[in-house]
Amino acid sequence: MNDRRLEESWWLLSRSRGVGVVLRVLILVSPVAAIACTRLAADHSLLAINVAIIPLAFVCVVYPDSHIGLLVVLLVGIEWLVTVDDQATPWSIGVAISLTVFHASVAAATVAPPAARWTRAMCWRWSRRSLVVMGASACTWAAVAAIDRYAVGSSAVLVVVSLATIAVAAMWARDGSVGVSQQ
């Protein structure tokens, strides 16, 4: 929670206990799991990216409030894009689950200071929501695998519609964020 204000991130880290420790271990382990799944899907990996991801994940452990997590996710995505050719591989579910765990762990690490004792209800809520998102990832994979069976030709209209949909969704999310911050 708010390392910027306390400015004692190292000290805070040393005070971690219970769920705080588990979350920090997950922040470190989940990108490694994503790398492993990518390697299993592609039979090879990019050493430079792998070497970069680990220290960045460690920075996320110390500063979960920072934007370094975004960089970790970006590197995992780039490695997947560059190395994996099979678009319907089930290992993508493994990477998605790893990224879900990483995202949930970083987010959860920011809501409470490391030494705070989490309640059972909080643990259960975060786990439940993560499982829902993992389920959504599995559904997406099923849809992608289904599409992959059919050879869909190039369609400019489809690309434009997709991009427009993404733009509208992004604007909707941005409006929501800006609205709250301006209050």
């Binding site: 995505g77 990477v95 995202h103 920011t110 809501v111 909080m122 959504a136 992608v144 999310a173 709250v180």
Partner: protein, 413 residues
């Protein structure tokens, strides 16, 4: 980002990787709060004894019920312990059904401590939106009263001459004037038990008496120095710790005996004097005044006689006897004809300790020799100097003083 690349690069598998982020973002935006939370912080008790605990309350009001997690960090000042140890707590108001966070705080040393405000941070779903508050107006001053050491004095009271003690006090206390027979309470003297009534009723009863107004005790605290290391109530005590706890114990003893007690502080910033009065409310006043005493790092002493030293007052000076200023003050008060007892509050082990640095050790030995010389001079001036050792510390000197006063009265007759 994943979605854009998926579309442009014709890689639908990237959508699978992006789904967790898209789902979490949509979830967070859908459950975003639109109004800030209400937070009220308060302290359970503003005044406690050192070593006693109280609670820092953080009450949360979330009318929309959209705050998932509310965390707080209370940074405690020195000499204040917390439970949880780091003052970090978190709760889910909706899931746990709690709308408040509590941090237990325990002052480990007497004094006035500023506590709070706690930094309160609330997060919405997926920590998508965060709201924080730290209103410095919510901070509170926690007054930790010195915990009186154990003290009792069996010596007879030194009675002041004059008309003050002829009339009984309107309050019950230790006197000779019969007031009533009442049930025995812890702290009552055994010789006060009224056996006929106790045998008749089957429960112990004591004879209560009215207090007498004939003793005026002045506690003269030397706050010019604070010698030694203080580790709070659970560890080593500095000279000022011993002074305050002893002063509290002596004040409690004389107040419970129905006497009037005044407080004069030498050299401290802030409080200088509490006029004489009696009663437990006054005891509280004395302890609060003691809690606000700060050691004077420079000598603040105008050299004038402290006010409030009435004729016939028994002056109990509590001092580590390191500063010659305090000892000179004791001599000058004694020269006015007042009964003065100096209580040595230097920690017992500090005079014997040998610092690692040989020069510091040599300096300290010279200081101890000078201190012994000053104490000898004070004793030669007829002022008793006794080390503070809890119950019975003052018995011998009070008894001597009583004989001396009784002798002088007999001589006058």
């Amino acid at each position: 980002m994943f979605a854009v690349v998926a579309v442009l690069a014709r890689r639908p598998d990237l959508l699978v990787l992006g789904t967790p982020f898209i789902a979490a973002a949509v979830w967070a935006v859908l459950l975003r709060p639109t109004r800030p939370l209400g937070v009220a912080q308060s302290i359970g008790h503003r005044t406690v004894r050192e070593g006693e605990a109280t609670t820092w309350h953080i009450a949360i009001s979330d009318p929309e019920n959209r705050a998932d997690d509310v965390a707080a960090v209370l940074e405690a000042p020195m000499w204040v312990d917390q439970q949880p140890v780091d003052g970090q707590v978190v709760v889910s108001p909706r899931d746990d059904g709690h709308d408040r966070l509590d941090v237990f705080i325990r002052p480990t040393r007497w004094g006035v401590h500023q506590v709070g405000p706690a930094l309160v941070v609330a997060s919405s779903a997926w920590a998508g939106f965060r709201w924080e508050a730290q209103n410095y107006a919510d901070s509170s001053m926690l007054v930790a009263l010195p915990r009186p050491a154990q003290f009792d004095a069996a010596a007879p009271a030194v009675r002041s001459p004059g008309l003050v003690g002829v009339n009984r006090s309107p309050r019950p206390g230790s006197g000779t004037e019969f007031a009533s027979i009442r049930p025995f309470q812890p702290g009552d003297r055994l010789r006060r038990i009224h056996w006929p009534r106790s045998l008749r009723t089957g429960t112990l009863h004591v004879t209560a008496t009215w207090a007498e107004h004939d003793r005026h005790v002045v506690l003269l605290i030397d706050a010019l120095d604070d010698v030694g290391e203080s580790e709070g109530i659970d560890g080593l005590a500095s000279s000022l710790d011993i002074t305050m706890r002893a002063a509290g114990a002596i004040a409690e003893h004389f107040i419970s005996a129905g006497d009037r007690v005044a407080l004069v502080v030498l050299g401290a910033r802030g409080v200088q004097r509490v006029p004489p009065a009696s009663g437990y409310r006054h005891l509280r006043r004395l302890l609060e005044a003691m809690a606000r005493v700060q050691p004077a790092h420079s000598v603040i002493d105008d050299g004038r006689m402290p006010r409030g030293l009435g004729d016939g007052a028994l002056v109990l000076m509590l001092s580590p006897l390191v500063s010659p200023t305090a000892l000179q003050r004791a001599v000058s008060i004694s020269d006015r004809g007042l009964a003065v007892i100096v209580i040595d509050c230097l920690p017992a082990d500090i005079a014997l300790q040998e610092p690692d640095d040989p020069f510091v050790g040599l300096t300290w030995r010279i200081e101890v020799l000078k201190r012994d010389r000053d104490i000898r001079r004070v004793r030669e001036a007829g002022i008793p100097v006794v080390p503070w050792s809890g119950p019975g510390s003052l018995d011998v000197v009070l008894r001597d003083l009583h004989h001396r006063v009784a002798g002088s009265r007999a001589g006058r007759r």
